[in-house]
């Protein structure tokens, strides 16, 4: 691994994409109020954050028993935020299999400028329709390859090429489990940068489950990522996303061009986000297990609830879900597994 003293990122340009109003929805059980959304979005916009994601944590159409019913519809949230931001572009997330192109059209009517189409890292071909439509509608269209730690960099490139061929102008290497070590990030981002079209942007989405959100994002920038996801105060699933204000401070010191006002983003984190939090976003033993075992970060609160209801350890549930190589969206496995484990205990 390269030491930070050797990392030369001076003058590298990066666009920061805030996740607190989408990934943060997981941490808030999708109960963020419209007023909170507007306050956060205004603050981020004024701090110079160029991209703000707003959707149910599981993307458009995520409202469900399985993932949780949100306080408001995607439509209401999107309209609230597009109504208050002046400079930032608003994005929505879409997971084929959960949301459909109908949801995408609705989001476009609400004023999004970016659509991010997410699939498990090996299943890019389910996104052909959605990426194709986003791109043909003239949207900034992002292919978002989740749980990217589960496959080798070469396989990731293959899937990225598919998304590129459907019309994505930006490809993300997504560390949904916060499992990647800096070398894993370097290998994946480096190969994507080398193999994809020069005009295709590369992005990195980190989770802080092993405390590596900021460092992994720096490594991603070093190897060619020009978009970095993070959340003010880290508000996101698991131990949260890369805390944006921390990334900005480090980026500032390292000479990365990020365009964000450090004090303003710090104030958004401290004055707006932290008081909203239902529980501290930190690397507790369950979040650490996500990162250690390679488990989808939004499983965290479901596992904690299962522990409460069935008296089985949430850490054991998460570790077992890691052994079974579950993927994003399989939240229904948690109660099922907890019931099995409770029965085995008796």
């Amino acid at each position: 691994m390269m030491g930070i003293e050797n990392m030369n990122v001076k003058g590298f340009k990066v666009a920061l994409h805030d996740m607190s109003l989408r990934d943060g929805m997981h941490a808030m059980r999708h109960q963020i109020t419209l007023e909170q959304m507007k306050a956060v979005a205004r603050g981020l916009d004024e701090a110079g954050i160029p991209l703000i994601e707003v959707t149910h944590g599981d993307g458009l159409g995520g409202a469900s028993v399985n993932y949780g019913f949100p306080l408001h519809t995607d439509e209401a949230y999107l309209k609230a935020v597009t109504g208050v931001v002046k400079n930032a572009r608003v994005s929505a997330l879409l997971l084929p299999g959960i949301g459909t192109v109908d949801d995408l059209k609705m989001a476009v009517d609400c004023g999004i400028g970016t659509i991010r189409v997410a699939t498990h890292c090996t299943e890019a071909d389910v996104a052909e329709q959605h990426i194709g439509m986003g791109s043909s509608m003239g949207l900034d269209t992002v292919g978002f390859l989740m749980m990217a730690h589960m496959i080798e960099p070469e396989e990731l490139v293959e899937q990225a090429r598919l998304m590129e061929s459907y019309g994505a102008n930006c490809i993300y290497c997504t560390d949904s489990a916060g499992y990647m070590l800096p070398d894993d990030v370097a290998a994946r981002i480096g190969l994507l940068r080398k193999e994809l079209k020069a005009e295709t942007e590369i992005g990195f989405h980190g989770h802080h489950n092993l405390g590596l959100g900021v460092w992994n994002s720096m490594v991603a920038v070093e190897h060619g990522a020009s978009r970095i996801d993070g959340s003010a105060a880290g508000l996101g699933a698991g131990a949260g996303n890369t805390p944006l204000e921390v990334f900005v401070a480090v980026a500032e010191r390292m000479g990365i061009e990020h365009g964000v006002d450090l004090y303003k983003i710090t104030d958004v984190a401290e004055d707006i986000i932290v008081p909203m939090m239902e529980r501290p976003i930190r690397v507790d033993r369950d979040a650490l297990t996500l990162g250690y075992s390679g488990v989808y970060s939004s499983f965290l609160l479901f596992a904690k609830r299962a522990e409460e209801k069935y008296g089985v350890s949430s850490r054991d549930i998460l570790a077992e879900l890691g052994r079974r190589r579950t993927v994003g969206g399989q939240e229904d496995m948690i109660e099922d597994l907890a019931l099995d484990m409770a029965r085995a205990k008796r």
């Binding site: 052909e128 579950t326 099922d336």
Partner: protein, 306 residues
């Protein structure tokens, strides 16, 4: 019963072949023709080996033989794009169509729930919904038969290897069609469907989760009994249809966790999602065949009413 109803299978792919192997065991169906469009297709060679007549000229190659060979039932295991044309042609020759494509020209059919209803309405084309629909709608119906279901949601998790190119190219069709059939056949006021594809090796067996929100507090005893009755019905044609956990009751939520293992005829056992489609299609065809044999269903007369 010695006499059997003669059938043709259109589409010699994995689904068509699995269906053929199942149909060859049937007491009331005799598969006679396999219809493809590619001479070199391995599915057609397999059908020849199994003693079927075959054509690689599509449905047009079958039509001249339908009356002579007394083909009264056709299965369409091709694609939604060609189904309408296939149906029009075989219907003109007097055959009933079991549609395994997403075209859904005819009513949705989930055999233990609404086949009787479709047949009494004289349907000569029934659609098998989706794999997730066949696996879950019987249990949504089992609950809605007891009390009003305001909302039903299903999550189908299938192995990557069992999700074919058709499903992948139009995954929205799965979510839309399944949600729609959860309402129309399952009896829920509002339906929602989610599909998750998992690439693990060895491939995971199809898993299905059903969450229903009942209008009033759920009658736990009656729902549990109804669910177990329905599972026994589905197990008649899919023996590997298993309730792993549940019913779980929490407030007005009723949740069921299932695994669907296939018979492993031509498709691998883990692909319960594909097996339940071919098994449900054959089950549907057999019930049609029984009624054709005893004279209580005459497809020719129904076509006039179309």
């Amino acid at each position: 019963m010695s006499r059997k109803i003669k059938a043709a299978i259109i589409g010699p792919g994995n689904i068509g072949t699995d269906l053929l192997i199942k149909a060859m065991r049937s007491a009331v169906i005799e598969p006679v023709w396999m219809v493809g469009v590619d001479k070199a297709s391995p599915g057609l060679s397999r059908a020849v080996e199994l003693g079927l007549k075959t054509t690689s000229d599509g449905v047009d190659g079958l039509l001249p033989h339908m009356r002579a060979d007394d083909i009264q039932l056709c299965f369409d295991a091709t694609s939604a794009y060609v189904h309408a044309e296939n149906f029009r042609k075989v219907a003109a020759e007097g055959a009933v169509m079991i549609d395994l494509t997403p075209a859904a020209i005819g009513p949705y059919c989930v055999p233990p729930v609404n086949l009787d209803e479709a047949m009494s309405a004289g349907a000569v084309n029934v659609n098998m919904v989706t794999c997730g629909g066949q696996a879950t709608i019987p249990l949504v119906a089992a609950i809605s038969q007891i009390q009003a279901v305001d909302y039903a949601e299903i999550i189908a998790t299938v192995s990557s290897k069992s999700a074919g190119p058709g499903t992948r190219k139009n995954i929205d069709e799965f979510t839309r069609t399944t949600a729609n059939a959860i309402e129309k056949v399952g009896g829920a006021a509002k339906g929602k469907a989610i599909i998750v594809i998992n690439p693990s090796e060895p491939p995971l067996i199809m898993r299905d989760t059903i969450h229903c929100l009942t209008r009033e507090s759920p009658d736990q005893q009656a729902i549990t009994a109804s669910v177990h009755r329905m599972i026994a019905e589905v197990q008649k044609y899919v023996p590997g249809y298993t309730l792993k956990n549940g019913p779980v009751f929490e407030g007005n939520r009723v949740s069921l966790y299932l695994e669907v293992e296939g018979l492993g005829d031509f498709l691998p056992k883990y692909a319960g999602n594909l097996d339940i489609m071919t098994a449900a299609a054959l089950r549907t065809a057999e019930i049609y065949a029984e009624k054709m044999l005893d004279g209580s269903f005459v497809p020719g007369s129904a076509i006039v009413a179309q």
